[in-house]
């Protein structure tokens, strides 16, 4: 079971979620994965975990040197950047 997030264009109307935390977590297949915690425009928090390839792509899309560089970035912009890689 290896997970991969489909890189899809962000839907119009996606709310203004920002990254409030980025952590390394253990994936079920033994890989280090990236857990991104989002704070949505309505105040709700949610989390999703990205596989290593997508995690590195996200860093690239964000122009971030490390995970700390993701904090505060717009999720809409990050996913758009991911699509354009």
């Amino acid at each position: 079971m290896s997970a991969a997030i489909a890189k899809t264009k962000p839907a119009p109307g996606l709310d203004d979620a920002v990254v409030e935390a980025a952590e390394i977590v253990a994936g079920h297949d033994g890989a280090a994965e990236l857990l991104v915690r989002l704070r949505h425009g309505n105040g709700v928090s949610s989390a999703l975990t990205l596989d290593p390839d997508t995690g590195f792509d996200l860093l690239r899309a964000a122009g971030a040197a490390s995970l700390d560089g993701l904090i505060g970035q717009s999720w809409r912009d990050l996913t758009r950047g991911l699509w354009e890689l």
Partner: protein, 555 residues
């Protein structure tokens, strides 16, 4: 005369009832009697004094599809007390499969199983295309029992060819898939597996991910004709999507009167609400009459990496991220550059990475010197008179970067939280992934760990409850006829073990895959004997010549 008489043990019969001092008699592959004292002669008597006598364990989530073609014991599963495995999970099985599609499927299997290519070209002959043919190909050699799933991805591949990985199916194609699934179920497939997350060796979604809900609904209608299982891999990386899948499974379960199961479901400090929220939804759906079984593994999750591939383990260290993202040749050059290496060591902290990297364990099984396997980076670094970060870089460079390190227990590792989850009546213990991820970690010994960690150490489950969870509960959930209980007339699948010592050994590399391929395994601890369909299959630390395993009859 009995074939086997197991004398003087504590009988834990799989019902959850308290164990009692007694005997178990076996004749013609079946349990002939269970009682306080059984009189009568037997061809073979096993002394079980001081030991537990229980039904054989059932592992409901494995990928032994390929290995079973040359190893009917699914080693080392059997020696851990496993007498029945369910392969074919996550949408992938080896049948039905047209000869022309073999190469395509092998790539998907290699992605999951990490098996060397020789496993598919040298270790067996492809003698089948249909499901019955695969069943017959494994049946002759079986030392344990098998209840194989049929994979949704291969059903799509058969009907749609290359289009299976490109588009939704037309109504005529869905009808053809229904016919094909029906044929597989008639050939004793225990159910259908599908996946919403898996990818092939190119990173492309597996065929099942291109199915629309109408296709899944139609296939579940066929499962409903037989009352068979639907297994799925949900989008487990996001709780909210998993909850939506639980609801979807519930609708399918109720509409077609089928059991469903999803895996994996795991806990971590980073997502502490994942399991509680999911189990709350599962409980609601059970109350509506649905059968939606979340599978939860017992073992903690480790992180494993080498510098051969970029790992997010170093995601907080900018210089490491920059270097590890380089193409291999440039990465090697950067690591060899003293100035770059100095900066990387500096990045790891003023202690040279002792706090962050010191507890890493060198795994072995790769290019690293064997004598270093199992030792911590702090120990190795001290001997080399280097900081841990420097030792990690240099050790990797000295061995072509093919040195694997393990950060143990980095997820699903809080025994105090996980014990009550495993004990929940809504949790199905499984998700071992036996036979998969061979080069990443050992997928064996989860049952031993259940007893050592959650029965003996934390007491979250009684011995009887733990046995029930991995025997009769599993048999009932999956509809395995006559399995999972020590009762007269049931199939004689029995494990004799020491409750005081049962556990799992340390992870170790083993080069026993075709083409001298390596995999990580764990030895069994405390298992005295394993009986499969009335024949002793493993005893005193060794396999016997018995070949009594079968493809399971279904209720």
């Amino acid at each position: 005369m009995f074939d086997i008489l197991i004398k003087g043990g504590t009988v834990v019969d799989g019902t959850g009832a308290p164990g009692f001092a007694g005997d178990v008699a076996v004749k013609d592959g079946r349990i002939a009697a269970v009682g306080r004292t059984i009189a009568g002669e037997a061809r073979r008597t096993l002394d079980a004094a001081g030991r537990i006598v229980a039904p054989g364990f059932i592992d409901p989530h494995t990928h032994f599809d390929v290995q079973l073609l040359w190893d009917g014991a699914a080693r080392p599963a059997l020696e851990h007390g496993i007498t029945c495995v369910v392969p074919g999970n996550c949408s992938l099985s080896l049948a039905p499969l047209k000869a022309a599609d073999r190469k395509c499927l092998v790539g998907m299997f290699q992605q999951i199983e990490e098996m060397p290519p020789q496993a598919f070209t040298e270790a067996f002959e492809w003698t089948w295309e249909d499901f019955a043919g695969y069943r017959d190909a494994i049946a002759a050699k079986l030392q344990l029992n098998v209840a194989p799933l049929v994979g949704h991805s291969v059903i799509r591949l058969w009907v749609m060819g290359a289009d299976a990985q490109q588009r939704a199916a037309r109504p005529d194609e869905i009808a053809a898939m229904q016919d094909l699934l029906r044929e597989c179920l008639e050939a004793r497939a225990v159910g259908l597996s599908t996946s919403f997350v898996d990818v092939d060796e190119r990173g492309h979604p597996v065929p099942s991910r291109f199915a629309g809900f109408d296709e899944l609904d139609a296939l579940c209608a066929v499962l409903g004709e037989f009352g068979r299982m639907l297994q799925i891999v949900p989008e487990f990386y996001a709780t909210d999507i998993t909850l939506a899948r639980v609801d979807q499974l519930a609708e399918l379960s109720i509409k077609h009167d089928i059991p469903t199961t999803f895996s994996p479901l795991f806990d971590s400090a980073a997502t502490p609400q994942n399991v509680p929220r999911t189990l709350a939804r599962v409980e609601e759906q059970f109350a509506r009459g649905a059968r939606v079984w979340p599978q939860m593994q017992t073992r903690p999750i480790d992180i494993s990496f080498s510098l051969l591939r970029p790992s997010l383990f170093f995601g907080r260290l900018p210089r490491w991220v920059r270097v590890l993202r380089l193409p291999l040749a440039e990465r090697l050059a950067a690591l060899r550059d003293p100035a770059t290496a100095d900066k990387m060591v500096e990045d790891a902290g003023p202690d040279g990475g002792l706090a962050m990297l010191g507890e890493l364990v060198l795994r072995g099984g790769d290019a690293a010197p064997a004598e270093l396997a199992g030792r911590t980076l702090a120990q190795i670094a001290a001997e080399r008179d280097e900081s841990p970060a420097r030792a990690l870089i240099n050790l990797s460079l000295e061995n072509g970067l093919d040195v694997a390190f393990l950060a143990a227990s980095r997820g699903h590792d809080a025994t105090a939280r996980i014990g009550p989850m495993l004990a929940s009546p809504f949790v199905h213990i499984g998700a071992s992934d036996g036979g998969a991820h061979l080069a990443s970690f050992a997928t064996y010994g989860d049952t031993g760990y259940l007893f050592s960690e959650f029965v003996r150490k934390s007491g979250a489950l009684s011995l009887e409850a733990a046995v029930k969870k991995i025997t009769s509960d599993t048999a009932e959930i999956w509809g395995l006829k006559d399995r999972g209980l020590l009762q007269a007339g049931k199939s004689a699948d029995i494990v004799v073990f020491d409750a005081a010592t049962i556990g799992r050994g340390e992870e170790r590399p083993l080069f026993d895959m075709p083409g001298d391929g390596m995999r990580y395994v764990r030895d069994a601890i405390g298992i005295e004997a394993v009986v499969v369909n009335g024949e002793v299959a493993w005893e005193g630390g060794a396999y016997t010549e018995a070949r009594a395993g079968v493809v399971c009859e279904l209720a």
